[in-house]
């Protein structure tokens, strides 16, 4: 991506403001950060547009599986390391179901998996896809239909049998399932099916060279939505393959590998399957399909994914509300702080070091630290009082004593007045919490 100043040189330099920002330079800075689109400038010349769009073309295809609200986008990644910018599309998590299960059981399972949801810091997270694996007994098309209807999630259809795939697509092809997979032997037919139904196609081959060849054939057949599987045999293979594919796409602009990937778990034990999936999520997988029995074990996977795909450029925040450290009682102290995650984690860490169970009331300050929030008028006596009075802490404790961060001691008067709580000024740095607790005799 060109720098702001390089982009600026290509813009009209009139500061007309028609793009919505006051100066051409400001617009260039937004473009450089990917926060604006060149189309926002009505006066850009064609040459400039050509030069810029070429430079900003995405290095890896984004592939959509499914349709409507539940459609999943994978790929489209632009960096090797999340700290370089962010990972754009959380990898798709799929659970695999075998087609030869009795229809009722299959429907029941698909329904259960489709509804599987866990709450994490205010986000409801669950599975994205259901994969139906062809048992080779003619049950595939019917099973696909059952799973699609009962699960309500986009599908991955796992079969190398082009006839079976064809039959399945007749039932579920409108839902844009992922066709898995084209091999060296069946590529032409599978590619034809993918085109016919406008579905993404996975190509699989043993090793990356063979995979690249196959992918190129799929591209030659006119496909754009391709998913890659180099069939790693070990976790070591997985990390290496995934890394090589990501580097080939981003650093080398090697088109045949510029697609998202799909990985499967094949370990003997459920525990190792979970770890295989964790490994894939941590290292670049576009889709991870697991096949263990216990759906609750999806929890570590969705959590890992949520964490790895968190945008590192956004100030990390937690939700406003009451948090518990240890098992606080109605006698336990009540602290107040902002919702900047790092601030909260520091306070939480220092509080738990005291081993004194504590309530922490977190105020939404848009992810800013205590002093910044105060400076910006997002952490004032009125605002804190409102949260304290409405968050429910009043029902949890029998006292009315609140500890305010020392850095904003000036707020204590206003806060007491507005909230009706007695305010004690705590330490300026959270590292002072243990000795503060000692002085206060908190136990």
């Amino acid at each position: 991506m060109p720098t702001a100043i390089e982009i600026y040189q290509l813009l009209p330099k009139t500061n007309c403001g028609d793009c919505g920002v006051p100066t051409c330079l400001a617009f260039a800075m937004k473009l450089a950060q990917g926060q604006a689109s060149l189309e926002d400038c009505p006066h850009v010349t064609e040459e400039a547009a050509a030069a810029l769009s070429d430079a900003s073309a995405p290095p890896m295809a984004t592939v959509t599986i499914g349709t409507g609200d539940k459609a999943v986008e994978v790929g489209g990644e632009t960096v090797l390391f999340r700290h370089d910018e962010k990972f754009h599309h959380p990898c798709g998590l799929a659970m695999t179901l075998d087609s030869d299960l009795p229809t009722e059981e299959l429907a029941e399972k698909a329904k259960q998996l489709g509804e599987l949801e866990f709450e994490r810091v205010g986000n409801m997270i669950g599975l994205d896809l259901l994969a139906v694996r062809d048992a080779g007994d003619g049950s595939f098309a019917e099973a696909a239909k059952t799973v699609a209807e009962a699960g309500g999630l986009p599908l991955a259809l796992l079969s190398e049998d082009t006839e079976a795939m064809k039959a399945a697509l007749e039932h579920v092809g409108d839902g844009k399932p992922l066709i898995y997979a084209a091999t060296a032997d069946n590529l032409d037919d599978m590619a034809h099916l993918a085109k016919q139904h406008s579905c993404p196609l996975a190509v699989k081959a043993d090793g990356l060279e063979a995979l690249a060849e196959l992918s190129e054939r799929a591209m030659d057949a006119g496909l754009e939505d391709i998913v890659l599987d180099g069939q790693p045999k070990t976790m070591g293979d997985t990390v290496q393959q995934q890394t090589i594919i990501r580097r080939a796409a981003l650093n080398q602009k090697f088109k045949p590998l510029s697609f998202p990937t799909i990985c499967f778990t094949d370990a003997e034990t459920t525990e190792m399957k979970v770890l295989q999936a964790i490994n894939c999520i941590a290292k670049y997988a576009g889709i991870v399909a697991v096949d263990f029995e216990d759906p609750t074990l999806v929890l570590p996977l969705v959590t890992e994914r949520l964490n790895i795909y968190t945008d590192p450029q956004k100030p990390p925040q937690i939700d406003q509300g009451v948090y518990e450290v240890g098992e606080p009682t109605e006698e336990s102290p009540v602290l107040v702080t902002t919702n900047f995650s790092l601030t909260y984690f520091l306070v939480e860490g220092d509080v738990s070091a005291t081993k004194v169970p504590t309530w922490i009331v977190v105020v939404d300050t848009e992810g800013t630290s205590v002093l910044t929030a105060w400076a910006n008028e997002a952490f004032t006596g009125e605002i804190i009082a409102k949260v304290v009075n409405e968050c429910g802490i009043e029902d949890k404790v029998s006292h009315r004593n609140l500890v305010l961060p020392g850095g904003v001691a000036v707020l204590s008067g206003k806060l007491e007045e507005e909230s009706g709580w007695k305010v004690t000024v705590g330490p300026e740095e959270s590292s002072g919490i243990p000795s503060f607790y000692n002085e206060q005799g908190f136990k």
């Binding site: 720098t3 100043i5 600026y8 500061n15 100066t23 051409c24 330079l25 400001a26 910044t372 910006n376």
Partner: protein
Amino acid sequence: MSQRTIRFEPGGKEVSAEDGERLLDVAARAEIRLRADCGGQGICGTCRVELESGSVQPLGSEEEMQAADGGVLACQALVASDAVVRVPELTAVGEIPALSEAQLPETVAEQFLSMELPGPLARRIEIEVPPPTGTDTEPDFERLQRDVVRACPDCTPLTITLECLRELPSLLRDGDFTIVATAGDFRTVEHIIDLASPPARSAYGLAIDVGTSTVVVQAVNLQTGEGRAVSTRNAQIRYGDDVINRIVWSQEHPEGLEQLREAILDNLNLLLGELREEENVEAEDVIGASIAGNATMVNFLLGIDARPIRRSPHIPPAALPPVLAAREVGLEIHPEAPVSISPAVAGFVGGDISAGVLATGMTDSEDISLLVDIGTNGEMVLGNRDWLTCASCSAGPAFEGVGIECATFAGPGAIGGYDYDPEADEARLSVIADQQPLGICGTGLVEAMASLSRAGALDRGGRINLKFSSSRVRESAAGPEFVLVREGEQGAPRELCIKQTDIENLIRSKAAVHAGITVLLQQIGLRPEDVEHLYLAGAFGNYLNVDTAVAIGMLPDLPRERIEFVGNTSLAGAYLALLSREARRRLVDIAEGMTYLELGDEPSFTEEFVASMFIPHTDIARFPSLMAKSGQ
């Protein structure tokens, strides 16, 4: 409340006061200026006075009121009876040099001031108007207008105050149709604000820089362009060290905004009084004022609620206020004199910065320049002829000595240069005006930090090394400290000691500046070495050594010849705007064309800030000249 009489010695000036008034404020009312380097917060001890008779009450505790060697701190003492107060020589404010007066690059001065008709903000001209005749029957005002306009064809339309219009017929006729007209440029229209009989008296204008910590007023003879400046601490400091705290004050006290306005107006009028006295100028002859200041200060001066600056997205209530009449603002000069205010770019990049850009001439060249203005806020502007971008960071007032006990204002007796020799365990000082060392100013603090770090008395994180082999290092209740100057050392009347927290504040300040520069460059896509001219303006005047500024990691490690100290560019820009119409126009272009970058929204700023909280920097590779020196 009882009325008391307070007499100040020497001089015997008497003034009445009410019980509970602060001595510092009473003295100000008596036009007796005391040093109060901390702005009257009871920190610095420089407002020490002796009570010859009568009694006072402490504002806080008795202890806080008592000065070290007898006497009381005027900022902590409240009137409780009639009293006679002696002001020791050290406390009285003598000559305070203005914080580095305007030094304009020649090219810039030439560009704006050498033209035949530079178009000052206000002008006083003697005009001979042809008397009306049978064929020339133009009325008086139009007749005058015609001649004034002839004298300045590209002037804005001319109008006149009613008072002047009333005086016009008689003045014209009494003076044989020769008249002295004073006209002020109100941007869209020029007003005749004063008429008089000849001869024309000298006319003056003011260039004013309103900083968060320091206020400078320069009186300029509008005929010659020559001027003299005086400066003082911003009296608003008593309501808060920085702009945020002052905005908070204005929000939380019903009279807060008015208090802030009065404080700064008192400052200005007091300085003005001093200048007028020295130069023997009547208020009526000061006919224009050009002001540059940060957006918060300017809004406070105008009595405008500044809270939009505090709240995201931090916009100024008004970026380009209209040209106002002095009586509206409250400046004690000609009541109708135009007061022109340099336009702001954003809430935290004020007209002082637009003025600074103007004064450096950086918009005249293709070369990429970086202007760094360091005060309580640090602002940086990057750009050239085609583009400008700017940012602001909160440097904190440490560089201006505010909040640091051993610090003082950069006046006589202030240590401006400091070098510690660990071999001899001696401090080498250079003291402004060669007086006895009373305190250390911002420049001295930075040099002290560099010097202690070199000597090993500080580790690279700026922590005082308690194992350092000198009795200057000691541990107090408030943490480790280092005695910069022992009592008696080079005639010092008291010990000067820098605390760990002072050093932390200084490091935070320099880190904010360096991080701001780094992020601004990154966002544009330039490297430090692309900067061809670095102009350092503000708190350090011309005293700071370039190597020191780099050695502590405040400025990027550029070839030293590219770094230039340019003094108070805000004042310099205000001066240009006072004298040149083109400069006033250009200021508006500069402010409008400048792209503001909100550092608070840049995730990399915090990271760069932490990386800069080290001497010189966590990434020493960015300071190749220092690496070469230390052999790393």
